[in-house]
């Protein structure tokens, strides 16, 4: 018998695990047909499914409907807030899967690019009972629309020697904060607001290009050097110490074949040398975080990278200073942002100087690569003499 999905079947070949085989393993046959049709027509047959969700929540469920209702009608996506660091016990997962198989398609996504645990393909009428049961197992729904999105964090101190902050604890504290959860589940902002937490400037959670607010571990004092281990690396032949020294972007290192020295004042904590020689080098002890603002992937003015707002902030539970800063920015943005404008764009449009002035932060030379090169600026009221009258 000829296959009903000849095109998709091609994607079952080859060594990489096949998403087509995965779809086939589920009972989500409507999707299989629709997906094949998409391949045949070289276009999607999905359309937006309008507002669907669970009572009390205005976000976190992505409405999906196909334009070929004969094949597949409504089949929505639910975003669950993932646990910190994407850690799971099989016990917890098995229970969720049980419920998902009962109410939904059985197709899952570990994880969405923002970080959520996503389950895809649930008819409208099943959403509420499914969530009722999932909630009892402590699975809460994540973000969508103009809200505080589900954050994400790198593995941090759980398994990484570079971690300068407790990424998991910060994440969990934020994601269980009532204000934040309220702002996640009831969108009120001009657009989405994403937070990512990396334990060090390596940025393994990709915050700089993708998050509106980035918390990135760093340290103020000196890189710790174990000279013996440096020599071991050099001797082992596996690590070329000279080459690393040469590649240091600030030329802050020197190596005489026996002793490595680092000019910690010049070092920008790029993490290159530490990552190449983790046995020998480690972050200092005076740890905290750099706070960056304004990243996003696309947008009216193109992509933005998040930039250094606060060079260094000590971070201790309950992270009150952090949360206050975050809400200071959110409030400013809420007041000044236009529809569909991310905070970085609002700052861009209004001007970083004005933004800092408004939120009461000091301008610092570390915020810029270089000062402005054009004379087009304005004065705050009071800076300029007006006519006496």
């Amino acid at each position: 018998m000829a296959s009903e999905t000849p095109l998709l079947d091609e994607l079952e070949k080859g060594p990489w695990p096949s998403l087509v085989s995965e779809i086939k393993k589920t009972g989500y046959t409507g999707l299989l047909k629709l997906y094949e049709l998409n391949y045949e027509d070289k276009m999607t047959h999905w359309t937006h499914g309008g507002m669907v969700g669970v009572p009390g929540y205005d976000a976190g469920v992505i409405g999906r409907v196909s334009d070929r209702r004969d094949i597949l009608a409504d089949a929505h996506t639910i975003r669950f807030i993932q646990p910190a660091g994407w850690f799971y016990s099989t016990k917890k997962l098995r229970k969720l899967i049980e419920l998902w198989n009962k109410y939904g398609s059985g197709l899952m996504n570990f994880h969405g690019a923002t970080g959520d645990l996503q389950v895809v393909g649930i008819p409208t009428e099943n959403i509420e009972p499914f969530f009722d049961e999932a909630a009892k197992e402590h699975w809460d729904i994540g973000g969508s629309a103009g809200d505080f999105r589900t954050a994400s964090n790198c593995i941090g101190p759980a398994r990484c020697e570079m971690a300068c902050i407790d990424t998991n604890d910060i994440y969990h504290t934020l994601m269980t904060d009532p204000d934040i959860l309220n702002d996640m589940h009831r969108p009120r902002f001009p657009y989405k607001f994403k937070v990512k937490i990396s334990g060090c400037p390596t940025d393994c959670v990709a915050g700089v290009p993708r998050a509106d607010f980035v918390i990135m571990g760093t340290w103020r004092d000196d890189i710790k050097i174990d000279q013996e281990e440096v020599r071991n690396y050099a001797k082992s032949g596996k690590v070329d110490v000279e080459y690393i020294v040469k590649n240091c972007p600030t030329k802050a290192m020197s190596w005489d074949g026996n002793e490595l020295s680092i000019n910690n004042d010049e070092c920008v904590r790029c993490m290159y040398c530490l990552q190449k020689m983790p046995r020998a080098l480690s972050p200092g002890d005076d740890r905290g975080a750099t706070i960056l603002v304004g990243g996003r992937a696309r947008g009216r003015y193109g992509a933005f990278l998040a930039w250094t707002l606060i060079p260094f902030m000590k971070l201790e539970p309950p992270y009150t200073e952090l949360k206050e800063l975050m809400y200071k920015l959110l409030d400013w943005w809420d007041e000044n942002g236009r529809a569909k404008e991310r905070i970085g764009e609002t700052i861009y449009r209004i001007g970083a100087g004005k933004f800092l002035h408004d939120v009461g932060l000091d301008p610092l030379p570390t915020m810029v690569k270089a000062p402005r090169n054009n004379p087009f600026w304005f004065y705050f009221p009071g800076e300029v003499e007006t006519d006496e009258e």
């Binding site: 276009m43 850690f87 197709l107 020697e161 940025d203």
Partner: protein, 370 residues
């Protein structure tokens, strides 16, 4: 029965209850790590304890049945815990070195490739695409599969100068976060949405559409019909529209998908981490390749060509963008045989800063371009 408000807003499950015990014991005490082989890390704690991580790639979507199988492996080898990474690999964290090989064997049986550490291609980040989204110009999950089949060897063994990140997004919303990747595949629509006036007038909230368009390309329009009645619809300014498809999300009367003109673009040289030169955007390599499902051979081939040009010449630790910066963009186009076109020259907001200010042209280019 709906939950009462009090029972809402409880947040994610507590990670502390799901942390492998060895990680809990050594939390914040890690001293160093070593890559044992592709896909396997050893982390050593101050306490002397060692932990072994086995990392495997997975497809963009996965059946609950398969997740249960992963759970079985976690129960068997990893004390009932598993985790996923920021690039969507799955990781098993072992407190017993002897479990590494059996686990690898079982994963191989399940069809899960172990790799993606060190000097490898990393797991491709892909968005939803044709599987479940309404705006794609191409199918990211399918492209992920087609590419990874071809690059499989680069994932399971270390043959590259350093890591290589690839991301795929079905459209310029860039949910696959493509814009800072070593190689990025981005679906492109090449025409603004069509406007089907009848549908717009019947099914759509025109003011919300106008407000939602990020480029202010949508204007209201009134059509006088022959029978004397009027029809309220919209018009889209083709010079302003960025082909984001957001209006289609609000209104079935403005479909953006266009099989004749949708396709794929390729970008190169982006980077995320602060290491060395710091983060950088990916830059346009190929503006357009028509969609050729189910396996997009032209895209796969071009990606392969780019990787080969880089891999054969880059120095250790030199990411794609760092390599191009060293050899120069003109040389990149020369070596990959990719054509440089009008579209490579930025005509968007910041373009002037990307022009080659001054007369700094390499000797080889002076000869070539005259």
């Amino acid at each position: 029965m709906a939950l009462s408000f009090d029972e809402l807003d409880f947040g994610p499950p507590d990670y502390k209850e799901m942390l492998p015990p060895i990680l809990e014991r050594n939390y914040g005490k890690w001293k160093y790590h070593e890559e044992i082989e592709p896909g396997v890390y050893k982390h050593v704690s101050e306490s002397g304890e060692e932990v072994y991580t086995v990392r495997a790639g997975q497809p963009k979507f996965i059946a609950s049945e398969t997740v249960l199988k992963l759970c079985d492996l976690a129960d068997k080898y990893a004390n009932g815990y598993l985790r996923f990474t920021s690039r969507h690999s799955v990781e098993f964290i072992l407190d017993n070195k002897d479990n590494v090989e059996p686990l690898k064997k079982d994963l191989a049986e399940l069809g899960f490739p172990v790799g993606g550490t060190g000097r490898t291609v990393r797991s491709i980040v892909a968005c939803t695409g044709w599987v479940h989204c309404h705006t794609p110009a191409t199918d990211s999950p399918g492209l992920q599969k087609a590419l990874m089949d071809e690059l499989y060897d680069y994932f399971v063994s270390e043959k590259l100068p350093t890591r290589l990140t690839i991301a795929v997004s079905g459209c310029l919303n860039m949910c696959g976060a493509v814009h800072c990747s070593d190689i990025a595949i981005l679906g492109v629509h090449r025409r603004p949405p069509k406007v089907i006036d009848e549908v717009v007038s019947k099914a759509c909230e025109i003011p919300s559409m106008i407000a939602a368009c990020p480029t202010y390309a949508i204007k209201p329009k009134m059509i006088k019909k022959e029978d004397g009645t009027t029809l309220r619809s919209i018009s889209i300014d083709g010079e302003k529209c960025m082909y984001c498809g957001i209006c289609y999300g609000l209104c079935p009367g403005t479909p953006i998908a266009d099989p004749k003109n949708d396709g794929v673009s390729i970008w190169v040289g982006g980077k995320i981490s602060n290491t060395r030169g710091g983060p950088a955007f990916s830059r346009l390599a190929v503006p357009f390749i028509p969609n050729n499902p189910p396996r997009w051979p032209e895209v796969v081939e071009t990606v392969k060509k780019i990787i080969d040009a880089w891999a054969s010449d880059a120095k250790p630790d030199e990411r794609m963008g760092e390599w191009i910066e060293r050899i120069g963009w003109a040389e990149f186009f020369e070596r990959t045989g990719i054509e440089f076109t009008h579209k490579h020259i930025d005509d968007y907001i910041f373009n002037i800063r990307d022009m080659n200010a001054g007369a700094r042209v390499k000797g080889r280019e002076l000869k070539k371009f005259s």
